[in-house]
């Protein structure tokens, strides 16, 4: 600081800056963090009351440390330290036997028997899917993971296009890879539909040009839309019916994590758009649409998923004519889809209701159509509001997929439980090892979804964060 030219000179003026001292140990670094978050609350002995509180905090902390410590150590001990990792002699369950049972481990040993999980690995992950065709599952999973990563990592180019591919080409490719494609539909039938679609599009075009009178002119858009839909259907059907020379794999041969992922991903991908449509429908001014959507939502929310699955797999075949049965997995998929759509609809409706009325009116005032208003103004805000709710529904859905095991579809949990029944591996720790393994897999997926949701929330709500 420069000397100020004043008449009255102070007695002491510091001419250089005070040296920068490091922050006190209690304020920075690990020590500071520990002090502020843990020890500060137990170090106050200035008054009898504060001393009692501090002592209580010390006691409480010690108990917590003890409880967590023993629990975590117990888990690590079970899963890692005392666990059996290999079965070099191929003796199966004897590798995990104690002396009492005729094996070599000390009596009272109680820890994970990982060779069992390793042996059942393929079954738990893919069920009875034919081993020589497993490359198709790997390919589908790898493409899915790569595509998803591409869409989610923001630095990469062409993310929008990648997302589009993931929603169109990928499901079809996966369907063909997993089932083998070549579904039994006559190509002539598909061709007829294709031509029909083209005809509809032409009618739409003609109507648009005003050559078919005023009435048809009104509906030109619908004709064109329906036409494009039919054309798209028949193209998809034609690809699915094409013989790619892949060995067909019945969905009855799918299992394990594969089923869990198929059910969860289909449910997740289908439930969001369906849910948005239902939510908009429920808030629609048109009574028929609003009542229909409300009935649909309330019906599916009013029945437990387990009932839906049971009806689909046990009762439905009795209602259908004898000999007619369509795929068990597809039945469960449709049930899960509709069920989660109803829940999603309510989550989205919450978001729609949280949007200020001014936003709706503003959009109307600038002359946007209903769909423009929703797409450009309302939904982007509404969906951002309810990301936690949406991801919550996704995570719930992911875990609810385990319910399909009660209708004879081997999801990850079902395959695990079936593996537990294998007498060749039966030991006292057989079941608990498998459940630990299944639990870890579920945790990884659900925790991943939850983290991504937090990241999305932070990114999208920067403008509104307090």
């Amino acid at each position: 600081m420069a000397k100020t030219p004043t008449a009255k000179t102070p007695e002491f003026v510091r001419t250089e800056e005070a040296p920068l001292l490091p922050p006190p140990a209690t304020e920075a670094g690990i020590t500071g963090w520990l002090w502020h978050n843990i020890f500060e609350s137990m170090a106050d002995f200035h008054s009898p009351l504060a001393a009692v509180r501090s002592l209580f905090m010390i006691l409480f902390s010690l108990i917590l440390v003890y409880v967590f410590g023993t629990q975590i150590y117990g888990l690590l001990d079970f899963a890692i330290f005392s666990a059996v990792f290999s079965d070099p002699d191929g003796v199966k369950r004897q590798a995990c036997w104690t002396v009492q049972q005729g094996g070599s481990l000390p009596d009272g040993w109680h820890a994970a028997c990982w060779p069992f999980v390793v042996a059942k690995q393929k079954f738990a992950l893919f069920g009875p899917f034919p081993s020589e065709e497993l490359w198709r599952v790997y390919l589908a999973l790898f493409a899915g993971a790569a595509g998803l990563a591409w869409v989610m990592i923001e630095r990469l180019p062409f993310r929008r296009q990648a997302g589009l591919l993931m929603l169109t080409v990928y499901p079809l490719a996966t369907f063909i890879l997993l089932t083998g494609g070549n579904i039994e539909v006559a190509m002539t039938q598909i061709a007829i539909w294709f031509v029909f679609g083209l005809a509809l599009i032409s009618i739409g075009r003609l109507g648009n040009a005003g050559r078919l009178g005023t009435v048809l002119n009104e509906f030109a858009g619908s004709f064109a839309g329906a036409g494009w839909l039919v054309v798209a259907f028949s193209t998809v059907a034609a690809i699915a019916a094409f013989d790619f020379n892949l060995e067909p794999v019945d969905t009855g041969d799918w299992g394990g994590l594969l089923i869990t992922l198929v059910v969860a991903v289909t449910g997740i991908v289908a439930s969001l758009p369906l849910g948005i449509i239902l939510a908009l429908g429920r808030r629609s001014d048109m009574p028929v649409i609003s009542v229909l959507c409300t009935i649909f939502i309330e019906f599916w929310r009013g029945v437990p998923l387990i009932t839906v699955l049971f009806m689909a797999s046990v009762m439905l075949p009795l209602f259908l004519p004898a000999g007619v049965n369509f795929d068990n997995l597809l039945r469960a998929l449709i049930g899960v889809m509709l069920f989660s759509a109803a829940y999603m609809a309510e989550v989205v409706r919450g978001g729609l209701q949280a949007i200020d009325k001014g936003q709706y009116e503003g959009a109307d005032a600038v002359g946007l159509s209903y769909w423009q208003k929703m797409r450009l103004i309302i939904l982007p805000q509404a969906l951002t509001h309810v990301i936690p709710g949406i991801v919550n529904t996704f995570i719930g859905l992911f875990k609810d997929t385990t319910l399909v095991s009660i209708v004879g579809i081997f999801d990850l949990l079902g395959a695990g439980q079936s593996a537990i029944a294998d007498a060749a591996w039966s030991t006292p720790v057989q079941a608990i090892t498998m459940y630990l393994y299944v639990g870890i897999i579920f945790f990884v997926f659900c925790f991943g979804m939850s983290r991504y949701s937090i990241y999305m929330e932070n990114k999208l709500s920067k403008s509104r964060r307090h």
Binding site: S131, L229, D327, D422
Partner: protein, 340 residues
């Protein structure tokens, strides 16, 4: 675009449904099975020794072998069979609705099931019965000494009713501790929560390996219920019923006649007794009577084996001796009608 994906799913669904409908037009089960090229067989979701998926997901077990035998009889190929794992609740609906062709899922033959469900039991491939396991330390040698015992069992099964009947009939008191899953029952019994573990004797044997000290437990000699387990088919298709019944009978007869998968080939070239000749199709026209190839039983024995081979491969490793499931000529009650 999401709508499009949905639509595609819908189309795929409708197409699968319509193909399934196209399949359903055949009338007899045999014709339908021959048209699709395999047999759909309902099995359990995992019961050691009877129907159980091994490490690579292949089904093995006594019940599974029966389905393979029928496939061998119909197609001459024991692999022309697909398995549908079914829960206890689903099994009869799955059969009645035509989702499966045979139910071979350790199903007890009872009068209600035979008369009221529109189903027929094609025979018995295993005579089971409910047994009781106790720790040897308990010092009990007979079930009649179990007055006041804590008993672990599964909820909602006939085992629960049978044990109640047994204790009431003998004027003893007991305390029932019921769990949903077999694993929970075993864990509770192993931890000393109960004195007795009761379920079917085959189940007791299968679960024994899950105990901390398997050798310090014993199975009491009393059998308190009759559980004849066998394959089930839909009522009203006698040809298919006969095929399943005689596939089972062929396996039992083969054991009785000493024909195994190893020596059945030799019967082609050597002189054999008339009953063997009828079994392997050298004499008579028995296959044609069933609507099958005359080598139907030959194929069963060649590819699946006789009853003893199947039993020894699947059930013996559980530590279950033949017992009542031995042939009638060996002191058991297994008795198949002759092929002639």
């Amino acid at each position: 675009m999401k709508k499009l994906t949905l639509a595609a799913l819908g189309v795929a669904g409708a197409m699968i449904a319509s193909t399934a409908m196209a399949d359903g037009h055949g009338n007899s089960t045999l014709a339908q099975v021959k048209e699709k090229g395999f047999i759909q067989c309902g099995v359990s979701q995992g019961l050691p020794g009877f129907s159980n998926a091994d490490d690579s997901g292949n089904w093995t077990g006594l019940d599974v072998d029966l389905c393979r035998a029928v496939a061998a009889a119909v197609f001459g190929d024991s692999d022309a069979v697909k398995f549908t794992p079914l829960s206890a609740k689903q099994r009869f609906t799955a059969l009645a609705s035509g989702e499966i062709d045979i139910l071979s899922r350790n199903t007890t033959w009872t009068m209600t099931r035979d008369t009221q469900l529109g189903l027929n039991f094609a025979g018995v491939n295993y005579y089971d019965g409910q047994g009781m396991m106790v720790p040897t330390a308990l010092g009990v040698t007979s079930a009649l000494e179990l007055d006041g015992a804590n008993i672990c069992t599964n909820t909602g099964t006939t085992t629960e009713l049978n044990i109640t009947d047994f204790f009431r009939a003998n004027g003893m008191s007991f305390n029932l501790v019921a769990f949903e899953k077999a694993d929970e029952v075993v864990a509770a019994y192993d931890s000393g929560r109960c004195d007795v573990y009761t379920t079917d004797r085959s189940g007791l044997a299968a679960q024994r390996g899950k105990l901390t000290a398997p050798d310090s437990h014993m199975v009491l000699s009393e059998i308190i219920s009759k559980e004849p387990l066998g394959p089930v088919v839909r009522q009203g298709d006698d040809q298919w019923f006969n095929i399943v019944r005689w596939s089972l009978n062929a396996m039992i007869n083969a054991e009785e006649l000493g024909i195994t998968s190893a020596n059945v080939n030799a019967t082609e070239f050597n002189d054999v007794s008339p009953s063997v000749a009828r079994l392997v199709g050298k004499e008579g026209n028995f296959g044609a009577e069933l609507g099958l190839d005359n080598k139907w039983a030959y194929n069963i024995i060649r590819q699946v084996g006789n009853y003893a081979e199947s039993y020894e491969a699947n059930v013996t490793p559980l530590g279950l001796a033949r017992g009542v499931n031995a042939l009638w000529s060996d002191g058991g009650i297994l008795y198949a009608a002759p092929i002639r």
